[in-house]
């Protein structure tokens, strides 16, 4: 079984998650992954064995998503439909689901470039260097997008109040 195909199959779960953070709906994410796989299979020759297949695939998924945006003029930044934060006395039984929805909504409310960096670093565990290479941007760009994304997520998901920093920007 070829290395390329086996690796690609192994990547599917991460690709699906990545596609979901980009496109925000499960249906679109499935289409995106299918399209990316088709494109990858057609251009398998272009992949250098021994190089990072995940970076290669992420780029394909992202490019395909951007083609989608251009073709259908979708909103590049999804509507911010975050639900109200539950008070401390919220019902236990619904809490997990609410937290889950809230985290998803918070993610969907980020600009795309921040969602992408969060996915690569926080969800996929890529190093800053790996993320920079995948996205073909300087490490400084990764760091600034990531910190902005984290700041917003900390505000939304890290608790109901945010203490401003004493030192800092």
């Amino acid at each position: 079984m070829s290395d390329f195909r086996v690796q690609l199959v192994g990547l599917l779960p991460r690709l699906r998650r990545f596609a979901l953070t980009l496109s925000t709906t499960a249906h679109d994410a499935d289409d995106l992954v299918q399209g990316a796989v088709e494109r990858a299979l057609r251009h398998a020759d272009a992949w250098e064995p021994g190089t990072a297949l995940d970076s290669w695939m992420y780029r394909i998924v992202q490019n395909l998503w951007r083609d989608e945006l251009r073709a259908h003029r979708r909103r590049a930044e999804p509507l911010d439909d975050v639900t109200e934060v539950m008070g401390e006395d919220g019902r236990e039984v619904n809490l997990n689901r609410i937290q889950w929805d809230e985290a998803r909504a918070a993610m969907n409310g980020l600009p795309e470039d921040q969602r992408v960096v969060l996915t690569l670093v926080v969800l996929d565990g890529l190093s800053y260097q790996q993320a920079a290479e995948t996205l073909d941007v300087p490490i400084g760009t990764v760091m600034s997008r990531l910190s902005r994304a984290r700041a917003r997520m900390a505000e939304r998901l890290g608790g109901s109040t945010v203490v401003p920093l004493k030192a800092g920007r």
Binding site: S2, L41, A103, A106, L118, M153
Partner: protein
């Protein structure tokens, strides 16, 4: 004195990811110990990360993931996958017209014609040689009352150039595969079917020739420009890439 490191969202974030320069960590942690606000912000980031991971788990591919199955079925076992579809499509093209039979069959005769066996042919007839040498894929030539058409070309793994061709007379339709051998060509396979005037030849042609193509290698069909270069260089052997 230790260099001061600023506590801001970027450095907190880098610390969280273990991406702070190792030399800076002691100073960073000292500054953090003295700044309750920064510590709180770090904890909020950590908590937000955890919630994010919980909200976007990896769903393992199920046993019957159709996309996984499709990938595994797709291409031959080689890192440089050969696109089979273009080769198949080229092979499905039929001769444009059926040529009338005549004694022209003799003009096309190759040294030995044996069905369903590999043939090493000597004394290849000049018309076929000329066709293999000169015609681009899709091109054809008529010699007497028979026509020869080139279907596709590719490079075998051992460096030989190989070409699939069709020969058509009123009575017969042949499909063949020839590869370069020395200064000339060697027909490695020749399959013949009686042709019915007006009937469509089944698509996909000869499985034996397909199998032989797979044995010869996994390189894709030559594009027109590459093929033209090969023709111009008289199909000289290609040095190993």
């Amino acid at each position: 004195m230790e260099p001061m490191i600023e506590l801001n969202d970027e450095t907190l974030s880098a610390y969280l990811d273990g991406e702070l320069d190792a030399a800076q960590v002691p100073a960073f942690e000292a500054a953090l110990a003295a700044d309750a606000g920064a510590r709180l912000r770090l904890e909020r980031m950590r908590l937000a990360d955890a919630r994010l991971r919980a909200a976007f788990p990896i769903a393992a591919s199920g046993q019957d993931d159709p996309l996984a199955a499709r990938i595994l079925r797709h291409a031959p076992d080689a890192p440089r996958a050969r696109p089979e579809a273009p080769r198949r499509a080229a092979r499905q093209r039929r001769p444009q017209t059926l040529m009338a039979l005549a004694a022209g069959l003799a003009a096309l005769a190759v040294g030995v014609l044996v069905l369903n066996r590999e043939v090493a042919v000597t004394g290849l007839d000049p018309a076929l040689t000329a066709a293999l040498d000169q015609l681009p894929s899709g091109g054809s030539r008529r010699d007497g009352d028979a026509s020869t058409r080139l279907v596709l070309s590719f490079r075998a793994d051992d460096g030989r150039w190989c070409r699939v061709f069709e020969q058509q007379t009123a009575a017969h339709h042949r499909e063949g595969l020839a590869c370069t051998a020395g200064d000339g060509w060697q027909v490695l396979a020749l399959d013949e079917q009686a042709s019915d005037a007006g009937s469509l030849r089944p698509a996909g042609a000869s499985p034996r020739i397909d199998a032989l193509m797979n044995q010869l290698g996994s390189a894709p069909v030559l594009e027109a420009a590459d093929e033209q270069a090969r023709i111009a260089s008289r199909w000289r052997p290609d040095p190993a890439r």
